[in-house]
Symmetry: C2
Subunit: 592 residues, 2 copies
């Protein structure tokens, strides 16, 4: 039986000591006083621990089932979903005009981590709804917004994203689902969509599908794609539910993990749909959902790793096996706890320094989103657009590795399903794949985001890091332990970016062959930057003598570990990148 | 539906071009003419493709079941096991005195790879039997050998290893299973063992359990441990089966993977056991099995990765998604195949260069075992003893990563169980854990093997690499592409070893904190060495104009990839190692 306790202390440290949200100047951040955020996080932690996490393993074992066209979620899900709705947890950062609480995204993100850690599969029903809510909020007519958003804010109705078809995932230009215009302005949607998370279930009154399809006259490829709202039940003019729409669940996929979430094949058989946003410009509207979803998936990467880490740590303290080589630590017991062994500590420190680095990076990213949305700050918008593939790709790769390490600490017991460690690994695995497989994230980063606006976003990032180093290098210890390694890593990243620029004009594959390493290199520099910022804040708190010394000392030691043990990966990634396209591209396809 | 075809061409290249087995001078190797090994490998490939692999997915889905004390294997297993027995595949390298074929271990290893790739869970029934066979062969009395070995060689009776108990795995000193001496010289064995692979099943007439237990008078810890033969059915003097022994299956564990193998809780309730080897010296006899098992598990690491790679490659060639940025490759189709994309190639080359490097390393290791066993060559014995934890730890870590990459190429389809890619990942995961978790391998390497015999084995390894470089650096292209990177990597390894030596006297944790990185660093150097040897052989074949140019060109390109893209990991591992114990050990256990 696994356990989960929300890391509220670390979240408070990040919000207030590191990000200093109340001083950010972003409208809405001034409300985020420590007492307030602390109370919200504690309450979220309670429901996560008492309601959501107890369903994590049982939901995995039971899974969802399809009977006579109806999807049933695992036992207890319905009641838990009701509790989430009643607690107002589905509405945190939604628009007050539609019943939301209008909270800053940064706090909603911290709360989101807690829920995902506790039960990733369960939280996806709400997460997908939020994505669909955002797309309708950004691109819908006033009428559409009034019809759908109030119900989606409360999760009385949930939402989905329908992109993938059997023959195409990433390459949406190939999609075949058709939208035929009707006399009343609606469309008839016909086609099959697969891998639809939360595609149908028994926890809400209606499901609002957002569906990519091709309407006539749109041209080839992605240009001809539009986005449609296709409700499971038609909505009457008075807001009540009408007849069932011609959309049905073909089957529920048997997956490696996230069994508690119904991943559906959806069949659209002339279903009534309503255009969302502009005709033939569906990709743009889709990306509103997609960018949000990618950040959400990047969060899943470390949130699951956090839960896995907590259970690895508990086991490492509890399991008695072998003796400390430097001297017995548990003389009255038959052996010392696992945690005395250096290699167990290495694995724990890898996990701890990853999760805390990821949390800092993600919450900082969330403040950029608040700045972009609430202040219409184009620089922040550009920066988070650059960093989104890093957050998604790097954090889900490392999050999976971290969950594997947590499972490893349990030894053979980690491989037995009833212990729960395997589930963390199986669940974490999907985050590397969906919402754009991580190779696609690397392509997006190197092929698109890096050069966007003439490279100004990446230049801004380098300036940010450089400025931080310059501003703080008077602190000799901070400099030696954090700023110098950060500077070296950042230089590796710049060298890699320059290599791409100089080589790509000759051969575009030179950059693409190194894209995956670049994404990881970038991730390490971002984490190094966030660790340096955390270290600065921890040192300031220690100097100020505000108490909680143990927390700040641990924070510094964890950061030093990251800088010494993880950041050296940048030199390996740079060397790989600098080997160029030839080693990767030289073989003809037939030669493999 | 996955597919598998035995890589016999590559195996022939390794046996004859690289390892030149017929010229090795090892007794028995002279029989390994290319025609002979080719015929054996082709036949093994047929049974793997036609009999074993078709049961891989179905065995995973069905799993084993326990009904009224009887363990049933998945549908088709019994017939397949019969086919393996009838084909003589269970007896390849066993002693002719007991019905074996007396073949060299290196060829048996290549055949073993083929069977494991085709169906890892199935092959474990035979693999465990071979381990038990070896222990009885090495430590049994003449009577015990005559009683058990002929039946185990044919797998009419299978074998198991019983080490782990609920409260202890690695730390066997804690074990509680008791052996009480009886008047007739036998023992009554009482206790519970867990995680017993192939613990019971319906494919053999008897199961011969080798059980670690404590007999009176042996003292504390591992010193008091003895090894016992405990048959499921007692064996009469005439070799026929007698009554059932007091050993039973408590349950079959639900695991993350290898569902086709029955992982059992075994209960010994005063079961009759017979001492194997010397009283209170069971650990030594156990290590006969264990060392063999570790090599077998290291083989599993890359064998599963090979099968996963084959299916990733097939998908990459077949799946049409996106366009080659340097120009359309499939103008008549809706898109180009995945394999045109640089990052897909990177992932394929990572897998291919790993699997071929691992195969070379493992087969070379097998020749060392032949040399040690058949020539009583102590240097070869010392070297393979040093390399065993590297083969086990490095190859299973990388094999798992490789299977994950293969799954990743399938995108969302890789996460769906019916496609079969998830099974490779779930199966490969156990290899990092059992027969000594990989952290324990790292500890064995750094804490024991490195210093063994005053460090002479590791010195011999360095001399071997140095000698090879020196001997071949007249070939400028080989030097630039292979020998120079190998030299640099080997230097990193030596620097790390020297760091351990200089630091460990002050603080043993300085070495142990870097043990895992050292194991990986060592693995990369071994692979680099094997790639350089393969490159030399391929270049010689090309120069000789013996034909099959495409194979040798591909081999060289794959090797160049490894040297350019994988070997740079050594500098990262060295940097981590050189950061010493402090980052790892500084936190008190309570501070985590």
């Amino acid at each position: 039986m696994t356990q989960y306790n929300a890391p509220t202390r670390d979240m408070q440290f990040l919000l207030h000591d590191v990000l200093e949200v109340t001083k950010s100047g972003v409208p809405g951040h001034e409300e985020l006083e420590p007492d307030f955020t602390g109370a919200v996080l504690e309450e979220a932690g309670k429901i996560a621990r008492d309601v959501l996490h107890p369903l994590n393993a049982s939901g995995d074992q039971e899974g969802c089932r399809l009977e006579n066209g109806v999807v049933y979620t695992p036992k207890g899900y319905k009641q838990a979903f009701q509790a989430m709705k009643e607690g107002g947890w589905t509405a945190l950062d939604c628009d007050p005009a539609y019943g939301g609480q209008g909270m800053a995204y940064v706090l909603a993100t911290a709360v989101g981590e807690i829920f995902v850690s506790a039960n990733m599969a369960f939280n996806m029903y709400q997460g997908l709804t939020h994505g669909a809510y955002s797309a309708i909020h950004a691109h819908g007519t006033e009428d559409q917004k009034a019809t759908y958003l109030p119900k989606m804010v409360t999760c009385d109705w949930t939402g989905t994203m329908n992109l993938t078809e059997p023959h195409c995932g990433t390459d949406l230009g190939q999609l075949r689902t058709k939208a035929e215009p009707q006399a009343d302005g609606s469309y008839k949607i016909t086609g099959q969509k697969i891998f639809i998370s939360a595609g149908d279930h028994d926890m809400s009154d209606n499901v609002i599908h957002l569906v990519l399809a091709k309407a006539p006259g749109g041209g080839e490829g992605t240009k001809g794609i539009s986005l449609f709202i296709v409700p499971k039940f038609m909505v009457n003019a008075d807001g009540s539910l009408g007849p069932r729409n011609a959309v049905s669940v073909g089957k529920i996929e048997e997956k490696m993990g996230i069994h508690g979430n119904a991943t559906c094949v959806m069949n659209y058989d002339g279903a009534t749909g309503f255009l969302l946003g502009e005709l033939h410009k569906g990709m743009r509207a889709m990306f509103t959902m997609m960018n949000e979803a990618r950040l959400g998936v990047g969060l899943q990467g470390y949130a699951v790793a956090e839960a896995a880490y907590q259970n690895a740590l508990a086991y490492a303290k509890d399991r008695l096996q072998g003796r400390d080589v430097t001297g017995v630590k548990n003389p009255t017991g038959p052996a010392d706890p696992l945690i005395v062994h250096p290699d167990i500590r290495r694995a724990l420190m890898d996990q701890k320094s990853f999760v805390e680095g990821a949390r800092a990076f993600t919450l900082w990213g969330a403040t950029l989103i608040d700045r972009a949305h609430r202040e219409k700050d184009a620089a922040a918008e550009g920066l988070i657009s650059l960093l989104t593939p890093v957050i998604k790709g790097f954090q889900t790769d490392k999050g999976f590795d971290s969950a594997v390490q947590a499972q490893q600490i349990w030894g053979g017991h980690g491989y037995i399903e009833e212990q729960g460690m395997s589930q963390f690994v199986r669940d974490a695995r999907i985050a590397m794949i969906y919402e754009g497989a991580n190779g696609v994230q690397a392509l997006d980063l190197v092929g698109r985001k890096l050069a966007d606006g003439g490279g100004k976003h990446v230049m801004a990032f380098f300036e940010l890091v450089k400025g931080f180093i310059k501003e703080n290098e008077g602190d000799a210890e901070l400099k030696a332990q954090f700023l110098d390694p950060l500077k070296a890593a950042s230089k590796d990243l710049q060298t890699a970016a320059m290599f791409f620029m100089s080589e790509a004009t000759k051969n575009p594959n030179a950059a693409l062959a190194g894209s995956y390493d670049f994404m990881h290199l970038f991730g390490h520099v971002c984490f190094g930057y966030m660790w340096a910022r955390q270290a600065k804040a921890a040192r300031a708190a220690l100097a100020a003598g505000t108490g909680d010394t143990a927390f700040y000392e641990t924070k510094l030691a964890t950061g030093r570990y990251y800088m010494a043990r993880q950041l050296p990966a940048t030199m390996m990634h740079l060397a790989r990148i600098q080997s160029g396209a030839d080693p990767v591209m030289t073989l003809a396809a037939e030669a493999f």
